[in-house]
Amino acid sequence: MTSQTQTKTTNNKISSYLMLIILIVVALAVVALFLAVQTFIEGGSDNQLAAIMLAGIGLIALAIAGFLIHQSRKQAAEVKLEIPKVMTIIECQNKGCNNKTIREFQRGDYVFKELDVTCPKCNGRQMITAAYKEIREKEKTYAV
């Protein structure tokens, strides 16, 4: 029930400064991982510990690099403008009829407008009694 407008852009150049940092981090990560493998092959309990630490450093560095790239590419994400539909509520003015019609809002509608179209049930006069949108998704609440 929502109409969406999407716009995409291809503006995702990364500043050279950030790129340099990312390159250094990636290089370090690769060296660390390489060393980890080498140490692990050499064997020994001491070396095993060293291998695990090196692998940890390498993975963290890779994660940092990934995060930085993600940060700078976020801009390419699409921008959405969501506009929920507004409904017009039309009620028959005849007492005891209570016929209620709901339709989409049209230009020219306003609350308390008397319509030319008569009630389909009793031919009585009809009036717009409300115009509103319904938001279905619940707002996030924080228990305090």
């Binding site: 140490t39 090196l54 940060q71 994400a77 407008k113």
Partner: protein
């Protein structure tokens, strides 16, 4: 000198050295890195703002073309309107500043309306459409302005490479974005003439005055005399269904003078900003002049009620800034009947039979007739 136990080969030493260099580098350049991340964040928001602003301009132009049927291309004139500014009165000597501000706002409003009339010759005499177009244009103006201000601080931050300029911008950005989103949804509502959250005041007033004869009061307001619980209620609202807030200050002044100050009480109904955690459509009661805007109306009302010692009560329907300017939510619409019950109780408890009370539905009367 080794970070890793049991490793003394040359390659490890080189690795350690690189780690230290990197660590020390971060001490000096960490802040810069942080700043780059912040700049990136601001850039993303700015990009979003630009799209919203362009979309706003497009909606305004489309609406003008559709309703106004201009003979020439309106885009140049619309762009000029979007850059429109208002200089507030000088406040060095505040004596009489309210009336200066009032005058400036009147001129601004008239000027914008003239501009819209030139843009939309088709509906030159249709006050409703002119008002709606003016509101649409105003929302587009607000979006344009927000974009320009954020862009200004962004560029200034990049030029000076000052963490503090960027940081200040980044800190208020979530609120700025929320406001921009609100104006974006307001645009659509204004373009179509849909009631917005702020229309709850006039909506309640309309419900109270329904079926009674209505007369116009200055400026752009209507008032009806309604028999209400054995009392006489004068119900006042901005004239609808065009987008219009009227000047309730002037209207209330006029009505109070008309009654020579003989009013048991003044009840103002308005949409009020909710705090986070409060529910949309919550009704709450208080005292004072429940009216927003630059304060001109509140000032005039307070002057009058103080002169005649009229008690002023307020009832507000809670909503946030986004709800206030976007199409009315069901929760807000449903609050109308609750407010009417409160008004009924208030009048019964605080006034005597035969009294006259003034009930004002404050807000933009867009999409609400009478």
């Amino acid at each position: 000198m080794s970070l890793i136990p049991g490793s003394d080969s040359t390659i490890f030493q080189v690795f350690n050295l690189v780690l230290y260099v990197f660590f020390i580098g971060f001490i000096f350049y960490g802040q810069k890195l942080q700043m780059y991340i912040m700049i990136r964040e601001v850039e993303n928001s700015l990009h979003k703002l630009r799209i919203t602003k362009d979309e706003g301009r497009k909606i305004a132009l489309d609406t003008i073309n559709e309703i106004g049927k201009p003979t020439t291309d309106p885009s140049a004139r619309v762009d000029r309107c979007l850059d429109y500014f208002t200089i507030g009165p000088q406040g060095m000597d505040p004596q009489g500043i309210v009336y200066k501000l009032d005058h400036i706002l009147d001129v601004r409003d008239d000027r914008l309306k003239e501009e819209v009339r030139l843009l939309a010759p088709q509906v030159i005499n249709d006050e409703v459409q002119i008002n709606n177009l003016e509101n649409t244009l105003e929302a587009a103006m607000a979006l344009n302005y927000i974009y320009k201000v954020v862009r200004h601080y962004y560029i200034q931050g990049r030029k000076t490479m000052s963490l503090y300029v960027i940081m200040q911008l980044q800190m208020i950005l979530p609120m700025v974005m929320k406001e921009a989103e609100a104006y974006a949804s307001a645009l659509k509502a204004f373009a179509y003439g849909q009631p917005i959250g702020d229309s709850i005041g006039p909506l309640i007033a309309s419900k109270l005055m329904y079926g009674q004869e209505v007369r116009k009061v200055p400026k752009d307001c209507v008032v009806a005399t309604v028999p209400f619980e054995g009392r006489t209620a004068l119900v006042l609202k901005a004239e609808g269904p065009g987008g219009n807030v009227g000047k309730p200050g002037d209207a209330i002044e006029a009505v109070i003078e008309e009654q020579q100050g003989k009013l048991a009480c003044l009840i103002m109904i308005d949409a009020g900003l909710k705090l986070e955690g409060e529910m949309v459509g919550e009704v709450s009661e208080g005292i004072g002049s429940a009216i927003g805007g630059p304060g001109v109306d509140a000032f005039k009302i307070e002057e009058k009620i103080t002169k005649y010692k009229i008690r002023n009560y307020a009832i507000i329907v809670k909503e946030d800034i986004g709800d206030a300017v976007s199409p009315m939510r069901k929760e807000i619409n449903d609050a109308a009947d609750k407010v009417i019950e409160r008004v009924r109780d208030m009048v019964k408890e605080r006034t005597k039979e035969g009294d006259t009370v003034l009930i004002v539905g404050v807000g933009n009367s867009i999409g609400v007739g009478q």
